[in-house]
Amino acid sequence: MTLKKYLALTAGAYLLMVSTVLAQQVTVDAGIPEYTPVQGISGTLKSVGSDTMNNEMTLWAEGFRKFYPNVRIEVEGKGSSTAPPALIAGTAQFGPMSREMKDAEIADFKNAFGYPPTPVATSIDMLAVYVHKDNPIQKLSLKDTDGIFSKTRSTGADNITTWGQLGLSGEWSGKTISLYGRNSASGTYGFFKEHAIAKGDFKDSVKEQPGSSAVVQAVASDKFGIGYSGIGYKTADVRAVPLSKTPPGKAIEPTPENVYSGDYPLSRILYLYINMRPGTELDPLPREFLRFILSRQGQQVAVQDGYFPLTAALVAEQRKTLGLQ
């Protein structure tokens, strides 16, 4: 392949990343209230945390600024684990996290403030296992993913190193599976570790990529590659493999209905952690921002970014904890 072709490919990948993806029939629940702006909102907000939610936060910030042009919002996304230190140090008002906080992190927060941080569910994500678009593999079970990615294989799976072991034939049979994953800062890494490799250890040969899009790009450029990343980063050059919980089980496609029904084995909630003293009210600026996220417009943003919106019931629950009307 020529250099030019490669450059064109990577540029293409970037463009596709934002636009394609599940423009599938995901609709925002009609029961979620519309956002209505209020008077006198201005100031600066900062968010530090999940890389998975980076695009989403940026889109929310943009949407919010349409109502309040005087508001400045900075979004920094280096990994979910960066959120708690930033919240504790007070350098950020929002800590987007693609996993729940660990006990140790909550304890550190409590040490600093005397009360726990407040999690706000913002949208639903699926973790997809991606392969190159030409890869003929039909399905994988969570035991297969354990055999592919894990060194310790707690499920008792066999060590799977070639595509042939997964039943592929011909050109594929002898080829080594090339593994890509996220760096350990990410919630994606932690979630995958807990659910897809049964809390085992990743193989040393999993190439750690600094971002979700880097994983997808790497798989797109490596024919024998496999990697995991949020569904929001899917491009036309990769394919998300249907997954089943057990080897004989039914393979579940990463589609909206399978996520809402809870059948897809790797779905999770994306959180926004905030520092809110119990029994007090939020400041107007963060309050309005959260009200925007938990509104029909805000949830539309989640859809636009390839994630799944919250249901009306979940939105109502979040609004109640935050004391939003």
Binding site: I124, K193, K207, E208
Partner: protein
Amino acid sequence: MTSTRRHRRSRSTRSSVRLADAVAAALIRVGGIGTIVAVSTVCFFLIWVAAPLFGSEELGTPAVLASLQPQESVVAMSIDDTGSTVLAYTSANRFLLLDGASGSVLEEMRPLDQVPTAHSFAIGSGDAIFGFADGSTRLLQAEFFTEYRDAAAMPQDARRHTTGDRFVFENRVAERVGIDQFALRGARVTVEDPIAVSRIPIHAVDLTAAPSGPAFASLDSGGVLRVTQVSRSRNFLTGKDKLTAESGELALAPVAERGLPRWVSLSGLANQAIAVWKDGLAVRVDVRDLAEPRIAEEIDLVAEEDVTLTAVTLLNGKNTLMAGDSSGRLRAWMRSPAPAMSTGDGLHLMLAHDLGRAGAAVTALATSTRTRSLAAGYADGGLRVFHVTTERELASARSAAGKPITALAVAPADRGVLAWDGQMMSALLDAPHPEASLRAYLRPVWYEGYAAPEHMWQSSSASDDAEPKLGLWPLIFGTLKATVYSMLFGVPLALLASIYTSEFLRPEVRARIKPTIELMASLPSVVLGFLAALVFAPAIEESVAQIATAFFTVPFTILTAAHAWQMLPNRVRSRWQGYRYVLAAGALLAGALAAFGLGPVVERTLFDGDMRQWLEGSSGNAAGGLLMLTLPVSALLVAAAASRIAGSFPADAGSLAAVAMLRFLLATIAALVLAWLAASGLAWLGLDLRGGIVSTYVQRNAMVVGFVMGFAIVPIIYTIADDALTSVPENLRAGSLALGATPWQTAVRIVVPTAASGLFSAVMVGLGRAVGETMIVLMAAGNTPVMQWNVFNGFRTLSANIAVELPEAVRNSTHYRTLFLAALALFAMTFVLNTVAEVVRQRFRKRAYQL
């Protein structure tokens, strides 16, 4: 300086000059001292952050907190994360909420109407399970809670307390947490409906919070072991959890002769249960297939006849079985892969850690909820805290009463230990970094799930019960690997290029080439890394064979071109002398093209048609790869031999050149034949490069990094080396040439040795850059912490690791400080390298001065 004009010079220096001189001297002094101060500050800061890792741990003397009625004893207890309330479950079947400061009873709860026959508390959460005489079990939740109340809603006398004060208020421990707010801490216990698992009394239970939902193992008095898994999946539409319960059962055969086992435990993933008898027999049951539990193995945990097990528990994460016995010995058994053993599931319970022996029997064990630390209580009232993975005893203490400790609990965040010996005692624990020790950082450590101790780096995970693996060797190894391969590529290229440009190239061409190469240094390394990862890595992947071939075709075409040049008529040569580099560039290109053409042929003949598969060792024979190694050696041997063959040479230069060319071609063929013979011979002897420096091909690998990092270090090495070579006095060259040496001989025997100190420091500066380089390796090396010299796979360097993990590390955690320790190691490496470089350079320079 000669001047015809005479003028009076003032004797004294002008004051402005003196001032400038003084200012410059001061500036240089300040700058120099400032640099030293800055560098030492960095060093001290690194040490300051990393030092607490090696601080000593302490366990305070146990102080009596509370006592109960004479016949009542505490069975299980826990303390909240602020240390203000304690919840205890007693032999009188009641829960007591105690004030953490005074030990007074705040509240009594009796959620269970029946007296249980067995109980188990899950690690960390407040979940518990109780078994009853009627064969039923009940899940129970005991949790601490905090409610906040406005100061206005508190009575007058409570409001006089200042922030941080704790006092008892309405069965709660209250604390003023702000100007207008109070926190009230209490506990609640909720119990769920009974789940019937048997018809006869439950003898033992164990509860586990598995990722798929709670699971528990139960053993009834008939010796039947059951594992019940409750699955929980969330329906986002309704917001409710779906609960499904499945269970499997198995009758334990040894019960008939030995009676019932004393302990039953269920692993963290609820995929195996272990029943342990007092005499040391352990039966491990494989419950991966819940419908059909099978006995995996039976093993004796105690070898001695007169020793019995006295305390058994699972360590945090519920993978390691901790067994304490009547002789005071405490050992950790782990389920490890053992392909050679004929156990049912290919695993084997192995003795992984021995924590030593104390004078009295182990009577109680409690695991930390956050680390792999373990508290042990002894019959003589002794308390010890261990870190199991690193086999360290962190601290110990002894109760004043000296009575056996029967119940034990570790406070959240390992802040203290609660113990019961007839009275409730609490002791403060200070062990912020139990995982850290030099041995754990630098020696292989036996982690859960592995067959033997290993060097490993896998620092963090989303779950609290994961075992951090903080071996620094994989990172140090990665740094060395990156450095070695990039130097292997960069140094010859840069040094030879500098010799060529300074000694052989026309000065005006050199004047253009040098700045161009220096310009390469201005490329940001992140750009190089990006190019490496997304452009070069996939491109190189498709042409491994071509690149391997190029290492031979390029020297060949260059040498052929050199001989061809000699064959040109004298007139032509002297006219175009200055433009030889154009010919050389052409030859280079021809070599590259030849490699591309020959690559597939080489791949077919030497590597069985597919180099990647050949590298994996699944096809082809070893000779192909060995040829790559033997060819350079045989070429050198043949060249040395050929130069010794004397013969009659034609007098005229043209024929001489033709003969030389012929000789060169013959020598090439001889070298190829010799190399092939040698390679086949070595292969026949069983030598194979695969598995060593070449092995499975991975797209992001050391070769790609070597090439691209070469780009980053070539300009630096080149420019310093070139300066060193050009500063060799011209008279040395002139003398050498005048005595009849050729330009080549002059360059190699006169100029290079004279400039050796400069060349050496050029290489060392390049080395320093390679060791600390971050962005290129971060993006192109795959960051895999493997320890193999394989040029075709990746690595993880200290610097890239710090860049990746520092933002995520919880401040002042062990992980955070370990990253600073890694930084300190990196600092030390570059410091030592640079010092050595400077010392050697000084020595060389002294010698050069004597010339």
